[in-house]
């Protein structure tokens, strides 16, 4: 059992080692002390930001809970005496309070990614099955056809992988345009890491926006067209980076997008 659970410190050490190796390869020589300091400072800064987001979201949640509750109370107690206009205004305020609630929830989710997690042996095909089950309504509704290559077993956090695959699948279904979505998940081993991709036949992304879409709250469409908080891909990026991987996208407008991401092999288990 003990070799199945890898402590967070172990993993962080491995990530640090991998990052150093990447830097060494990129720089063409071993890392200087200065580079090591910069890498450590960067990691610390990322964790501090996550911590700040966590505290801020908790503090924001309380007043918002009271706003939502009092809007509800207003609705319950005065629904029969209020004018249609008043009812409409209450509805708009309630909708927006709810939207803010989901934004705060996703911020909290984001801040949790760096926190203590359990790493274990995870069959990625089981993760995909789990996602398909979670998304079954959306899949049925959109008549999506989803296929996958043989997927590896990795030492990762199960919840990270569910979030990663599910967010990408959900996006591929959501931004499918008029055609029923056709989605394929691919995987290929490349030396000491795995390359994954998810190809769809959706509306595609303009080349100008290929990097922007990973920015928090960045949205390319109005919430009326495509509802969402604009944090899904930021979550994916944060997860992949936690493992020392990278994520990017290639796309042809109106033909489809392919998201690529890498995950290092931390433990090879036969």
């Amino acid at each position: 059992m003990s070799d199945e659970i890898v402590s967070r410190n172990d993993l962080l050490r491995k990530i640090a080692a991998l990052e150093l190796r990447i830097m060494e390869l990129e720089e063409g020589g071993p890392c200087t002390d200065e580079q090591i300091d910069i890498a450590n400072a960067l990691e610390q800064a990322k964790n501090e930001v996550a911590q700040f987001i966590s505290i801020a979201s908790h503090d924001l949640r309380e007043p918002l809970r009271l706003i939502s509750n009092y809007l509800g109370l207003l609705e319950v107690e005065f629904a029969d005496v209020a004018s249609p206009d008043a009812a409409k205004y209450i509805q708009i305020a309630t909708d927006n309070a709810n939207r803010m609630q989901s934004l705060i929830e996703s911020l909290l989710e984001y801040s949790k990614i760096g926190q203590q997690v359990t790493f274990q042996r995870v069959q990625l095909k089981h993760i995909v099955s789990q996602c398909l089950f979670n998304l079954r309504l959306k899949i049925d509704e959109s008549q999506a056809e989803i296929t996958a290559d043989e997927l590896p077993l990795l030492v990762v956090s199960e919840s990270h992988m569910v979030q990663l695959f599910q967010n990408l699948l959900e996006n591929a279904i959501k931004f499918s345009g008029p055609r029923p979505p056709k989605i394929h998940i691919g995987a290929q081993k490349k030396g000491d890491y795995w390359l994954f991709w998810m190809e769809d036949n959706g509306i595609g992304i303009k080349n100008d926006y290929l990097e922007q879409i990973f920015t928090m709250f960045q949205r390319l469409h109005s919430t009326h067209e495509y509802p969402g908080t604009g944090i899904g891909l930021t979550l994916c990026q944060r997860i992949v980076e936690q493992y020392g991987g990278k994520i990017w996208v290639e796309s042809v407008l109106e033909e489809g997008s392919t998201f690529y991401w890498t995950l290092p092999i931390l433990h090879r288990i036969a």
Partner: protein, 149 residues
Amino acid sequence: MTTLVSSFNILLVENSNEDILLIRKAFEHTQREPTLTVVKDGENALDYLYKRGAYTDDDTIRPDIIILDLNLPKISGLEVLRTIKTDIELKMIPVIILSVSNSPNDILACYQHQANCYLVKPRDFTQFMDLIQHFDEFWNGTARLPIQS
């Protein structure tokens, strides 16, 4: 003069006026409105239960059940819970935690200190009414509580 009360007596230990009003309003929508006594911090909660400090007169009713928030000034909710559950006289009163916290650590700590139930304050008023409705149906209907001596 003792007030004759046959209804269900709840001691609500809650610091936030906004939440007190929400809880009152939600109880108004239940079948049998209970008698709600409110104290706003942990010290007052214990004074009330031990009939001391500001609560030495006969009007002090021993509650059938306690709804306890965790985030309280002076003495924390967890400390109030611990005191109640280690007191031979008070420990049979069911204590229901009603907190904003959904943290597994808080939930665990409360059950470790013998909380009878842990509830999270809902995010909207419909859910709030549902929660209080369930609370009332269960603790004031289904459950049998100890008869007070």
